[in-house]
């Protein structure tokens, strides 16, 4: 876990450079996003929900990074903050193709929207119920003048076909589609802008397992065809293991462990990661499951514990955990952990 300093000091934060340092499409340094808690007589700000509190990682072009963690740990907010969809950030840096996203002018941001896209968790609420599919997919294309007018229909057909939709679906409305098809429409909408980077915000968690596989495979195929970069947010570890090149594990707004997928799944180092991975169901009734059961519940992000945020539930907590926030350390090449257990 990175520094929990509220002051933004970009230079001091050394973002872990893994996996791979060449051709970094997205670099996130000590990103912070606090939501004010308003209340009282005059709607004063009484405190902050520290939804994202010091997240740092780098993402290589054409790779997929999985972001896992339990509900409410700030995964989705991280994704949206990166895309500048959650208002202003509180601190840190988001460098997209080397440029600070939050420094874009309105015009630049408008253009950058075609480069970075998002697929939402709920395919039911993410499609406007009163527009036909062709409008949902094509509206932004027209808005950005991506294709000439006479090629517009063909272009939409092509994108829809890529996403496993038929051209005759164009005139239909969202309510006529199943969840999987809706998620395909969402993907088509994102893809129609020909982006480089897509935040997949739990794209399969609302779907049943067989459809999940279809969507995951579709995303995978599109990545191979177009060289897309994904930030794949999920709480489903097996899905993340399947699709990701690298995995970040988040707890209470911070990133506790971060590294290549194989390394992390083979050798989880952080106690929280260990506990999380022990909860993966094993499809073998005879296998013995060594579940690590964590005590208590996740603390409120409005009032996170001092020191290591995990110390309230950590079975290995030491005295120093309560006082000092652990630094992020590279224990293996490209495998970063924030934990005092590995202090020398």
């Amino acid at each position: 876990m990175a520094s929990t300093n509220t002051t933004v000091d970009v230079t001091s934060t050394q973002a872990p450079a893994a996996p791979g340092t060449e051709d970094i499409i997205l670099e996130v340094n000590d990103l912070k996003k606090y939501f004010p808690i308003k209340g009282g007589m005059f709607n004063r700000t009484q405190g902050f929900v520290k939804a994202v509190d010091g997240v740092s990682f780098k993402l290589r072009r054409g790779h997929t990074m999985g972001l896992v963690g339990e509900s409410g740990c700030g995964k989705s907010t991280t994704g949206r903050t990166i895309l500048r969809l959650a208002g202003e950030k509180t601190g840190g840096q988001v460098l997209f193709n080397g440029r600070e996203v939050y420094d874009f002018t309105a015009k630049e941001l408008h253009d950058a929207r075609t480069k970075m896209q998002i697929i939402f968790q709920d395919p039911y609420s993410s499609l406007s119920p009163r527009l036909p599919i062709s409008e949902i997919v094509g509206e932004a294309v027209r808005e950005h003048n991506l294709v000439p007018k006479d090629e517009f229909d063909d272009y939409i057909d092509k994108v829809m076909e890529e996403c496993g939709l038929q051209p005759y679906h164009k005139m239909r409305y969202p309510h006529e589609f199943s969840g999987g098809q809706r998620q395909r429409i969402c993907i088509a909408r994102a893809l129609a802008l020909n982006p480089e980077f897509i935040v997949c915000d739990e794209p399969v968690s609302a779907l049943d397992v067989s459809i999940q596989a279809q969507i995951i495979n579709l995303l995978h195929d599109l990545q191979e065809e177009r060289g897309l970069t994904y930030l794949f947010i999920s709480h489903d570890l097996s899905v993340v293991e399947h699709i990701s090149d690298a995995v970040g594990v988040m707890y209470l707004g911070g990133m506790v462990e971060y590294g290549f997928t194989e390394d992390i799944f083979r050798n989880p180092l952080h106690p929280y990661t260990k506990a999380l991975f022990s909860a993966i169901p094993i499809p073998d009734p005879k296998a013995k499951q060594n579940r690590i059961v964590l005590e208590g519940s996740i603390p409120s992000p409005a009032n996170p514990p001092k020191g290591c945020k995990f110390h309230t539930r950590c079975p290995f907590a030491k005295d120093c955990c309560k006082e000092i926030a652990p630094e992020q350390k590279e224990l293996e090449p490209g495998h970063f952990v924030s934990c005092h257990l590995y202090d020398e």
């Binding site: 969809l85 941001l109 253009d111 896209q117 406007s128 005139m171 309510h175």
Partner: protein, 555 residues
């Protein structure tokens, strides 16, 4: 890894024939079509729609078809007898005393008994009065050679505006006239009495001087205080210029209406008719208009009643339903059915315009409030709160009476009414729209529009408004009914739509007493039914739309 399950290879066409895949479905319904389908499944909503269509046809087409105008009045000519004058014949003696003489009631009774006894003098309180009888119908009472009173069945009256004649003049006039009556000379220009007992006379006013000259020629003159007066046989006393200064007659004629001046020739004709026992007088006045007067004698009150028969234009007020007027006529003699049609037009148009104003304002304010949030939202919602606190009925009543005081044109007034009602009813819609937009704003498709870089106007017009429409339409339809009711209430109170414009409310307000209500059902029942049906129709359709827009309803 590619997933081919949904992407059908082309050579599997046969399988497609029997598959339940999407492309096999023939019918594709847009959300609008689905709503329509659900709406038309709802029997009550269809009934409401039929009622509304009928109402619209009735109001908008009916008014065109109807042969009558909105404020066309209907009337008939009728002969009306109105009391014109009463004529009383004086049979007993009437005593008149000189201005400075004492001739009280006790002296009069003494005089009466002296006259009856044929005595030539009597005494009362030591005063001796001498009775003279210059003519059969006149007794004078002198005291020491001075005439202090007279008694006669003739009465000296003055025409309107003339000064009261002096005592001496009265005595002289009565003496002269009663003496002339004794002579029984038939007058030269006495009105003729036809065989059927009708007196026909033409006005000859204007040649009064001639009449005076004529009277002088006939020797009918007398002198008082050096002035010469002439008189005719009807008892009219004229001065030298021919102006009537007094009338002497046993008949006292008074017009029923204090403002009416009975022309002298008519008076004479009436008196002639009474003497001749004629019952009808046809009189042509100076303007050439013919009037017919009927004289009837009421033996009980001993009064001859003169009634004038006139041709009058009478409005067909509260005429019962007939072939010409299917729903009769109202208190102004206007065709009720036509009035109802035009009233429907006004009521419906007012309803629509008010709701249109309210919805427009509500959507704009609610939309701004919901979309931008923050202090804008706070400000607008506080304004809405203030509007909610305003008691709308008193405000409308005050403004209505203010417009009364300004004597606004009914047409302008109607426009103001719509504006006022619209301005008072937008907050509800603003709140609804704001709530909707607040919830829509959190939906992921709004985030998606932001993520895809769609401009703010497009986001509002293409994504927010269409999703607010269902609730908006339902709310507007419902408030149409209540607006019509409000308008009817105001018109009923006389503060809404004013004559000559009809509205269902002011048609009902014609029924302002129990007599009209119980006797002329055709005035208020049809308007009430129209109002009921229209509001019921709007509510049915509103309910139907709400159910149709609710996706949880069965398809």
């Amino acid at each position: 890894m590619s997933n081919d399950k949904n992407v059908k290879p082309a050579d599997q066409a046969e399988e497609q024939e029997y598959s339940l895949n999407d492309d096999r479905r023939v019918k594709v319904l847009s959300p609008g079509a689905l709503i329509a389908k659900r709406f038309f499944r709802n029997r009550l909503a269809v009934v409401g729609l039929v009622i509304l269509v009928a109402m619209f046809l009735f109001s908008f087409v009916g008014g065109v078809i109807s042969p009558y105008g909105q404020d066309e009045t209907f009337s008939t000519m009728t002969e009306l007898n109105t009391q014109y004058a009463g004529i009383t014949e004086t049979t007993s003696l009437r005593y008149t005393a000189a201005p400075d003489a004492e001739f009280g009631a006790l002296v009069q009774s003494k005089a009466n008994s002296a006259i009856n006894a044929g005595e030539t003098s009597f005494e009362r309180d030591g005063v001796v009065y001498t009775i003279d009888q210059p003519t059969p119908d006149l007794y004078t009472f002198s005291q020491g050679g001075q005439v202090v009173a007279y008694a006669s069945s003739n009465v000296v009256s003055v025409p309107a505006g003339a000064t009261a004649p002096s005592f001496e003049f009265q005595v002289a006039a009565i003496t002269a006239i009663t003496a002339a009556d004794e002579a029984e000379e038939p007058a030269a220009d006495a009105p003729e009495v036809t065989e059927d007992g009708t007196v026909v006379v033409e006005s000859d006013e204007g040649d009064a001087a001639d009449a005076a000259a004529e009277a002088e020629a006939a020797g009918n003159t007398f002198e008082v205080d050096g002035a010469t007066y002439s008189f005719d046989e009807a008892g009219n006393v004229m001065d030298g210029s021919g102006t009537v200064v007094a009338m002497v007659s046993p008949f006292v004629m008074s017009a029923s209406d204090g403002n009416t001046v009975i022309p002298d020739d008519l008076r004479q004709a009436l008196l002639t008719a009474i003497e001749a026992d004629a019952s009808e007088v046809v009189y042509t006045d100076a303007n050439g208009a013919e009037h017919t007067y009927t004289i009837s004698y009421d033996a009980y009150s001993k009064v001859y009643n003169v009634t004038e028969t006139t041709e009058n234009l009478v409005y067909d007020r509260y005429a019962s339903p007939s072939l010409e007027h299917w729903l009769g006529t109202d208190g102004n003699g206007m065709d009720m059915l036509t009035r109802l049609m035009y009233g429907g037009r006004v009521s419906l148009i007012i309803g629509f315009i008010v709701v249109f104003i309210a919805a427009g304002l509500g959507v704009i304010m609610g939309g701004i409030s919901g979309y931008f949030g923050g202090w804008v939202d706070n400000l607008i919602m506080r304004i809405v709160d203030v509007f909610y606190c305003l008691p709308s009925m008193p405000i409308i009543i005050i403004l209505g009476s203010a417009m009364d005081a300004m004597r606004l044109d009914p047409w302008i007034r109607m426009i103001y009414l719509m504006l006022i009602l619209g301005f008072l009813s937008w907050p509800g819609i603003a709140r609804l729209v704001r709530g909707q937009i607040l919830s829509l704003r959190e939906q992921e498709f709004m985030l998606a529009t932001e993520a895809t870089g769609i401009s703010v106007p497009h986001r509002i017009i293409r994504h927010l408004i269409p999703n607010v429409m269902p609730q908006l339409i339902v709310s507007c339809t419902m408030s149409l009914g209540s607006t019509i009711i409000t308008e009817a209430t105001l018109s009923f109170l006389g503060l809404g739509v004013k004559f000559p414009f009809a509205s269902w409310g002011n048609i009902i307000s014609d029924v302002n007493n129990a007599f009209v209500m119980t006797n002329y059902w055709f005035i208020w029942i049809p308007a009430g039914i129209c109002l009921l049906l229209a509001v019921l129709g709007f509510n049915f359709v509103g309910d139907g739309l709400r159910d149709a827009f609710d996706p949880k309803m069965n398809r």
